[in-house]
Subunit: 330 residues, 2 copies
């Protein structure tokens, strides 16, 4: 049996996360308890929420402890099973985190014939579900409305925009840099994409959204959200899905345009994908259907090797990834 | 025919409104056009939204022009009618603003036998409707939940809290000073009332809301809203109804605790009572019913004479009123 390698939280970051906050360790692969399954992880998902788990501020789930393995979703294959529900060779989705092997009872089978395995960490996984339920249940877009989404080339944003386009909306992305914006427009088929790094978000929104904004799917928070509030229409909706601009910040941003919420009767609502756990099947079916019909495009950004996961997360938090960020473990 | 007296906007305030922003004028009482009704105003309502109309910042309705009569709702009696729907002596609700007489086609009859005339400007008028629809449709309180309302002794807040109590909730008010807090607890029957002027809002909320806050009905915005965000429960609701703390401010407050919206999946929604215009009858019936049963208490603060309306509004914006602020015109 090979040795397990894992990355644990070595210290809590102050401000931006750095590689010194992580430590690579080796250990024995654990012996299985009854009911457990030993999984060899093949793909690890990197997601912005992980920065939140590195801090001990109150959040919707508890922080990773110092010395504990970093959290994360993986796709892997069963190498040994003491559960009647899983057999050697099964492909599974797990919460085993940043490690090559793990023993667990919390896993679900995935079908490698329906889509590439890594898709279960992205478009068919938590990011895809987040996009699906956030847009449909909170954004509630109607045909002809204007939908804006930030982090538009990312795992969640790219799906949000394409689903909004399928729903008959005008779709405007916000992304960092001309390459991402080009991809969002040409490949993903958004009507427009604003490069926030150009520094003219307010003016560019006015130009790209001549009829104002009906739904803003917010993955970034901070100054971007503040600017958007000035463009929201009467009875518009803001899906508060992520605050990536704040995850590395030591001081929270002070939102100044909140008055618009009253004036335009805007509805803002926070969301976490787990709240729709009971309906994942519905989303999986819809997303897989769109993929099969070629209506949903999807891009991945792959880091090779567990040891490079910290650098991958750090780059993701700086917006340097392009598409769904993954670590290839095997 | 007596001369009309009216108060017009003389200049736009910068920061706090002052009496120099208003001017008292005299003019001929207008001659009626066909379909119009001449009304002698008896009561004028003073409301925080009036400060917004004195500025020319974008809002949900247009600003009062310089030289134009200040907006406001009144209750009066018909003194002459060229409309088949109204007769001399009818009591009516109008939008005639800060003046003793006015010719209008926009008026509705009110019933002086159902309630004192002034009540149609408060508990049975816009403030009452605001409380009713904001709490019921946006706050959506369930029995046993904790509801917090700011400006709790005011025209809207006092009704919100009493309706929440009738709905079986724990009700906590926020008001300025021990006298108002005492009234809110003893007279209105709230479970607790926090004096924000004591400067311990955060600590006092923790004490008064041991199970956190499920609904916050916000009439003030700013630092109070920011503090409340730290106490909101999972899936809680914020009714964004007023921002009185900001109306006189030259710089908007920067909301720092917005992260809580994501973490606790809070829903915030702006509201203006006009959005429920089609359902005013429903609210009127419910509120009049509660009044008749003695379940809804109501207090008025009266300024005598049109010439004192500016001072009345200025005091209201400073929180110096106690209950629904009215001007007695005749």
């Amino acid at each position: 049996m090979p040795t397990n390698r894992r990355i644990v939280l070595a210290s809590r970051p102050e401000g931006a996360a750095s590689t010194s906050n992580f430590r690579l360790e080796e250990e024995q692969v654990p012996t299985l308890q009854p009911g457990q399954v030993l999984v060899r992880n093949l793909w690890l998902s990197l997601d912005p929420y992980m920065r939140g788990r590195m801090s001990d501020a109150k959040s919707y789930v508890k922080a990773v402890e110092i010395g504990e393995v970093m959290v994360g979703q993986t796709v892997g294959e069963v190498v040994e099973s003491r559960s009647p529900q899983f057999a050697k060779g099964d492909h599974v989705l797990t919460q085993l985190g940043w490690q090559l092997f793990g023993a667990t009872k919390e896993l679900v089978k995935v079908d490698p014939d329906r889509a590439p395995l890594s898709y279960y960490l992205g478009v068919l996984g938590m990011p895809g579900m987040t996009a699906y339920f956030g847009l449909k249940e909170i954004g509630q877009p109607k045909p002809g409305e204007t939908v804006v989404v930030s982090a538009a080339s990312g795992a969640v944003g790219s799906v949000v925009g394409q689903l909004a386009r399928i729903a008959g909306c005008r779709v405007v992305g916000i992304a960092g840099g001309p390459a991402k914006c080009d991809y969002v427009k040409r490949e993903l088929g958004f009507d427009a994409c604003i490069d926030y790094k150009a520094g003219n978000l307010d003016r560019d929104l006015k130009e790209s959204c001549p009829k104002g904004v009906d739904v803003y799917f917010d993955n970034v928070g901070g100054a971007t959200l503040d600017t958007l509030l000035r463009h929201m229409n009467l009875f518009s909706r803001v899906v508060v899905c992520g605050l990536i601009s704040e995850y590395n910040a030591t001081e929270p941003y002070g939102l100044k345009n909140f008055r618009a919420v009253l004036v335009n009767r805007i509805r803002l609502q926070g969301m976490i994908v787990f709240d729709w756990k009971d309906r994942y099947g519905e989303a999986l079916k819809a997303l897989a259907g769109h993929l099969a019909e070629g209506k949903l495009k999807y891009r991945e950004s792959v880091v090779e090797g567990l040891e490079n996961a910290p650098q991958g997360l750090i780059a993701l938090l700086k917006g340097q990834n392009f598409g769904k960020q993954l670590v290839k473990l095997a």
